[in-house]
C-alpha cells in the first residue's frame, strides 16, 4: 500500500512539475483534460445506452467494445502522441526495490493519470449497459476492474518488452518495422469492413462469435450472464492477468539489466552529394544534403516515411470498394501527399537540441526561409516521384488512365499545401520528439497536448486551404487539378515566409520547446 501511494504521488508530482511555468504546456494539459473528460462522459453515456438495445445485440456490442479497448490499450501508446507519460524503469533501476514492488509501483504510475481514469469510467458504462440481474451487477464490478487491469498490464508488457530492444541503435531500426505492423493492424478492421461483408448485423454476429472467447469478450459476457459461468470467466481472466503481470515482471527484470551494446561504430560512405549536382553551392544545398541524409539515417524519419507509404497503400485497398471510381486516384494521391507532408508539421522536432547550430548561424529571417526551403526541397525530391508512382499505379489499377494526370497534379498540390501549413505549425507549436523512442511517445512528457494541438491545427489548416479544390472535384470538374501544383507552391512559399517571420524572433523559445528533457 505504501508503494502504491508513493508511486501515485510521484506520478502526480511529475505531471504537476511538467506544467510549471510554461503557458503552452498548461494549455496543452487543459486540452488533454477537456478531451479526456469528454471521452469519459460520451463513452460512459454510449455504453450505458446499450441497455436499450436487444439483449443479444447489446452483449455482442459490449464484447466488441471490450476487445477494441484492449487492442487500443496495446497499440495506442505506440502510435498516438503523448498519451503514455509513464515512468522509465531504467530511471528507477538503482534504487533497492524488489522487482515485485517496482512492478506494483509502475502499475500504479501507469493507472495514475487522466486517460486511464477516463477509460475506467467508460468501461464502467458497460456495467450500466449490460447488467440485467443482481448477479450481473455483483459480477460486473470485478469484471470491469479485471478488464481495466488486463488493459494496463498488457499495455505495460508490450512497451516494456519492446523498450529493452529499443535502447540499442539497431533495435530502434527494427522499430521501423514494428511500428509499421501496428499501423497495418489498426487498418485491419477498416479493410474487413470495406471488403463487402454486407449486412452489418450479420458481420457483428460473426465477429463476436470469435471475440466472445477472447479475454475481454469473456469479461463482457460475464457481466451479461451474471451466473456461475460468468464467475468462472472472470476468475479465468484474472488468472490470465496474473500471468501477464508475471511476464511483465520478467520483462522488467531483463530490461533493467540488459546493457546497450550498440557502440560498434561503422563508417559512412563519403559521397559527393546528390543535391550538389543541380543546386548552386550555398546554404540551401547544405540543408538539402543534410536533410536527405537524415531521412535515410534517422530512424524517426524512416518510421515517418514508411508509415506514410503503408497508410497510403492500406487506404488504396480500403477505398477500392467505396465506389468513387475515377475519383479514387485523385483522392488517394492527395491523401498520400498529406500523409507525407504531415511529417513536416514539427519540422525542427527531430533536430532537437542540435538546432542551436542553425540558430547561431542564422542572423536574419532569410536563414530560416532557406532552412525551411531546403527541408521542403529534400522532402519533395522523394515525395514527388513517389506520388507520381502512386497516381500512375492507382489510375492503371482502377482502369481509369484518364485520371492519372489530374491525380498526380493534385498530389503535388496537396504536398505543397501540407508543407506550407506544416512550416507554420512547426514554429507556432513546436514540441520535443524524444531521442529514445522508449515508450513510443511522440512528444516529451507534458507536451502531448501541444503535439495533439499541432497535428489538429495542421489538419484544420490543410482542410481549409484545400477546400477550393475539393468543391469542384466533388462536382466532377477534374480540370481544376491543373492549377493544383501552382496553388500548392504558392501556399508553400507563403507558409514558409510566414513561418520565418513568426519563427525567427522566437528562435530562443523554439529552441527551448524542442529541447525539453525526455
Amino acid at each position: 500500500m505504501n508503494t502504491v501511494t508513493l508511486f501515485a504521488r510521484l506520478k502526480l508530482r511529475l505531471l504537476a512539475g511538467n506544467l510549471r511555468g510554461d503557458l503552452q504546456r498548461k494549455l496543452g494539459f487543459i486540452f488533454t483534460l477537456v478531451a479526456a473528460t469528454g471521452l469519459a462522459a460520451v463513452g460512459f453515456f454510449l455504453m450505458s445506452l446499450l441497455r436499450f438495445a436487444p439483449p443479444d445485440v447489446a452483449s455482442e456490442l459490449a464484447v466488441l467494445a471490450f476487445s477494441v479497448f484492449l487492442f487500443g490499450w496495446m497499440t495506442v501508446p505506440l502510435l498516438v502522441f503523448g498519451l503514455d507519460d509513464t515512468l522509465d524503469p531504467a530511471k528507477l533501476a538503482l534504487f533497492p526495490l524488489r522487482t515485485g514492488r517496482l512492478a506494483v509501483g509502475m502499475f500504479t504510475a501507469s493507472v495514475t493519470g487522466v486517460w486511464p481514469a477516463a477509460m475506467l469510467i467508460v468501461t464502467f458504462g458497460a456495467l450500466v449497459g449490460l447488467a440485467s440481474s443482481a448477479g450481473g451487477w455483483l459480477l460486473g464490478v470485478p469484471a470491469v476492474l479485471v478488464q481495466f487491469a488486463l488493459c494496463v498490464v498488457a499495455s505495460r508488457l508490450i512497451t516494456t518488452s519492446l523498450s529493452s530492444a529499443l535502447r540499442t541503435r539497431r533495435g530502434r531500426d527494427v522499430l521501423a518495422v514494428a511500428a509499421l505492423l501496428v499501423v497495418v493492424l489498426t487498418q485491419l478492421p477498416n479493410l474487413v469492413l470495406n471488403s463487402g461483408f454486407g449486412d452489418p448485423a450479420a458481420l457483428l454476429h460473426r465477429m463476436t462469435d470469435v471475440l466472445r472467447w477472447t479475454p475481454p469478450g469473456m469479461l463482457a459476457h460475464a457481466i451479461a450472464d451474471g451466473g456461475p459461468a460468468g464467475l468462472a470467466e472472470i476468475v479465468f481472466v484474472a488468472l490470465l492477468v496474473a500471468v501477464l503481470a508475471w511476464l511483465w515482471i520478467k520483462a522488467l527484470n531483463r530490461a533493467l539489466v540488459t546493457p546497450d551494446v550498440s557502440t560498434q561504430a561503422a563508417s559512412v560512405r563519403r559521397e559527393r552529394g546528390l543535391a550538389d549536382r543541380f543546386l548552386p553551392d550555398g546554404p540551401l544545398a547544405a540543408v538539402v544534403t543534410k536533410e536527405l541524409k537524415y531521412i535515410r539515417r534517422e530512424p524517426r524519419s524512416r518510421v515517418g516515411w514508411f508509415s506514410a507509404a503503408v497508410v497510403t497503400l492500406v487506404l488504396a485497398f480500403s477505398m477500392r470498394n467505396l465506389g468513387v471510381g475515377a475519383g479514387l486516384p485523385i483522392l488517394l494521391t492527395s491523401a498520400g501527399a498529406l500523409m507525407i507532408a504531415l511529417q513536416s508539421g514539427n519540422a525542427f522536432g527531430i533536430d532537437g537540441r542540435s538546432l542551436w547550430m542553425n540558430a547561431v548561424a542564422f542572423g536574419s529571417e532569410r536563414g530560416l526561409i532557406i532552412d525551411l526551403a531546403g527541408r521542403h526541397l529534400a522532402n519533395a525530391m522523394i515525395a514527388v516521384p513517389l506520388l507520381t508512382v502512386v497516381g500512375v499505379a492507382a489510375g492503371l489499377l482502377t482502369g481509369s488512365p484518364g485520371s492519372i494526370l489530374p491525380a498526380v497534379l493534385a498530389g503535388w498540390g496537396a504536398l505543397g499545401i501540407g508543407l506550407g501549413v506544416g512550416s507554420v505549425t512547426s514554429v507556432v507549436l513546436p514540441y520535443t520528439v524524444p531521442e529514445r523512442m522508449n515508450a513510443f511517445t511522440g512528444a516529451a512528457p507534458g507536451q502531448g497536448g501541444v503535439a495533439a494541438a499541432s497535428s489538429l491545427g495542421a489538419t484544420a489548416g490543410i482542410a481549409l486551404l484545400i477546400l477550393p479544390f475539393v468543391v469542384p472535384l466533388l462536382f466532377g470538374l477534374y480540370w481544376v487539378c491543373v492549377a493544383a501544383p501552382f496553388y500548392g507552391l504558392l501556399v508553400e512559399t507563403l507558409g514558409r515566409r510566414l513561418a520565418a517571420k513568426i519563427g525567427f524572433p522566437r528562435t530562443p523559445e523554439l529552441l527551448m520547446a524542442i529541447s525539453k528533457p525526455t
Binding site: R20, G21, R169, T263, A265, A266, S267, V268, R269, R270, D276, D281, G282, P283, A285, A286, V287, T289, K290, K293, Y294, R297, E298, D351, G352, R353, S354, W356, M357, N358, A359, V360, A361, F362, G363, S364, T507, P508, E509, L511, S515
Partner: protein, 256 residues
C-alpha cells in the same frame, strides 16, 4: 581598444528563481578569459544570453561593440559557440557536420572542405572523420564541436565547460588550438570549475556566484598573491572548515 564582450545589467529569471541578476561582464579583446563559479551560479545562462540562444529578461549584451539582439547578422558572423551539453547533428559524420556548418554560413564548399580537413587533422580526428557523431566519445564530441565553432574564423569564441569529461590528451589538443587562436588576437571565453586549468591558461578571470559577478579582472589582480582556488573559495564563500558538524555517521562501520 573596445572590449570583446560587455554586458550591462544582464538579467534572467526562471519563475521565482533569479538565475542571473544584473551581470556586468567585461572581457577585453584578445584575452583568454575564464568564467568561473560554482554550479548554479549562472555561467551557462549568461553565456547563452550573450550568444543569442536564450532571451534575457533585461539588460544588454555587446560583442565587439555590437548589440547582440539588434545586430544579429554581424554578431552571429563574429562569434563561435560551443554550448553546454553538446548536442550535435548526431546522424552526420564528423566531416559532414563540419561541411554542413560551414556551408550554412555561406562559405564556398571547396573552402569548407579544406578548412574541415585541416581542423580534423589538428584535432586528431581524421581516423574518425567518417564515423557518425552519435558514436563519438565525449572528448571527440568536444573536439568536433570546437572545430565547428572555429570553422568560420570567429573573432570571439564562447565555450561552455569545454574540458568537462575530456581525457588529458584531448584536453591538451584543445588547449593548444585555443592558445594558437588567442595568440592571433582573437578572444576566448570559457566557463569551468577547474581552477588549475583556468590559472594555467587565462589572463583574465570573471568570478560568478549566485547570479552575480563577484570579482573580475586580470588573473594576477583577482588572485592577489593567493592561489586562484583559495581566492575563489573566499570570494564565493565556500565553508572554510571541512564540515566537522554533522555527517558523523559517514564512514562509521555498521555494527553487526
Amino acid at each position: 581598444m573596445t572590449d570583446a564582450v560587455r554586458t550591462h545589467g544582464l538579467f534572467k529569471r526562471y519563475g521565482q528563481q533569479i538565475a542571473v541578476a544584473e551581470v556586468d561582464l567585461v572581457v577585453p579583446a584578445g584575452s583568454f578569459a575564464g568564467l568561473v563559479g560554482p554550479n548554479g551560479a549562472g555561467k551557462t545562462t549568461t553565456l547563452s544570453m550573450i550568444t543569442g540562444l536564450l532571451r534575457p529578461d533585461g539588460g544588454t549584451a555587446e560583442v565587439d561593440g555590437l548589440h547582440v539582439w539588434r545586430d544579429q547578422v554581424e554578431v552571429k558572423a563574429r562569434i563561435g559557440v560551443l554550448p553546454e551539453g553538446l548536442r550535435l547533428f548526431e546522424r552526420l559524420s564528423g566531416r559532414e557536420l563540419l561541411l554542413y556548418n560551414g556551408r550554412l554560413r555561406g562559405i564556398p564548399k571547396a573552402e569548407v572542405e579544406q578548412r574541415a580537413g585541416e581542423l580534423l587533422a589538428v584535432m586528431d580526428l581524421t581516423a574518425a572523420a567518417d564515423k557518425l557523431v552519435i558514436d563519438y566519445s565525449t572528448g571527440m564530441r568536444k573536439k568536433i564541436g570546437l572545430a565547428a565553432a572555429l570553422l568560420h574564423n570567429p573573432s570571439v569564441l564562447f565555450l561552455d565547460e569545454p574540458f568537462e569529461g575530456v581525457d588529458p590528451v584531448s584536453a591538451n589538443t584543445l588547449t593548444e588550438v585555443l592558445r594558437r587562436f588567442t595568440a592571433s588576437g582573437s578572444t576566448v571565453i570559457f566557463s569551468s570549475h577547474v581552477m588549475d586549468l583556468v590559472e594555467r591558461l587565462c589572463d583574465w578571470v570573471s568570478v560568478m556566484s549566485a547570479g552575480q559577478i563577484v570579482a573580475q579582472g586580470p588573473l594576477a589582480d583577482v588572485r592577489g598573491g593567493r592561489s586562484l582556488n583559495q581566492a575563489f573559495l573566499e570570494l564565493v564563500g565556500g565553508s572554510p572548515q571541512d564540515g566537522e558538524t554533522g555527517l558523523t555517521w559517514l564512514g562509521a562501520k555498521p555494527r553487526a
